[in-house]
Symmetry: C2
Subunit: 141 residues, 2 copies
């Protein structure tokens, strides 16, 4: 996986730097998508600058190494891209996140392209389910 990453970055013309390795290492072992705030907190603001995190994430996104996920929670989240194509179910109350698989992306994007007259290519997609987790259901009156 590390090899893969280094290659991807180089292929895209990016340098392999210490902050990038640290950030990718973090995202690789993360169990859920992380926000910039969480990333900086986890690495330590003395070891990496917030602005650098934003810029690295932008580079990783362009290189196809990570994906951005929107939980309608006020900021963007990021995770390493796996081809296994998993998605998320998010608790709208406490923002807990769980993964699930089973989105037939290929069929859907083909169908969408068939319907479209302005698009000929789909690069990526997002699919999120919003629900209430068992803990938060109990809290509701």
């Amino acid at each position: 996986m590390d090899n893969n990453f280094t290659e991807n970055l180089k292929k895209a013309g990016y340098k392999i730097t210490k902050p990038r390795l640290v950030l990718l290492g973090l995202l690789c072992k993360a169990k859920h998508p992380m926000s910039v705030k969480e990333i900086v907190k986890s690495i330590g603001s003395k070891k990496i600058n917030q602005v650098t995190v934003y810029r690295i994430l932008t580079a990783f996104k362009k290189a196809g190494i990570i994906a951005q996920v929107d939980f309608q929670a006020g900021c963007a989240y990021f995770e390493v891209r796996d081809n296994g194509d998993h998605h998320h179910i998010i608790c709208t109350e406490c923002k807990k996140v769980e993964d699930f698989v089973g989105c037939d992306y290929d069929a859907l994007s083909n169908e969408a392209l068939k319907q479209s007259n302005d698009f000929k290519k789909v690069m990526h997609h997002s699919f999120e389910l919003f629900g209430i987790c068992n803990t938060c259901i109990l809290k509701q009156s």
Copy 2:
């Protein structure tokens, strides 16, 4: 549709006010999801306050009247919820939006719930495709 809206709002304990009617009218005739900026610009900042727009959108969302859509474009977008379950394909370059249909939401959310141990209910979902439109493809070197 207007009746439906009024009922939904009342059912949720919300008052029917002039700004709400204006905002809903706008979203109903909109061809694509709108951002707060676009909404205020369209209605006119003398006729409705930006903060009011945010609060109305929050209320509408809770009442299930509108849906929030994330185009990874720096701000949230909103559209009236139709049960027809359409989705969007967005140009990552120029942010052009097109609709498409064909997401088997019921099957997918059932499948996700089956896989989950912490969730028993899905309220809504998001599904977006990110691509490059024909115009922007030509612009690329």
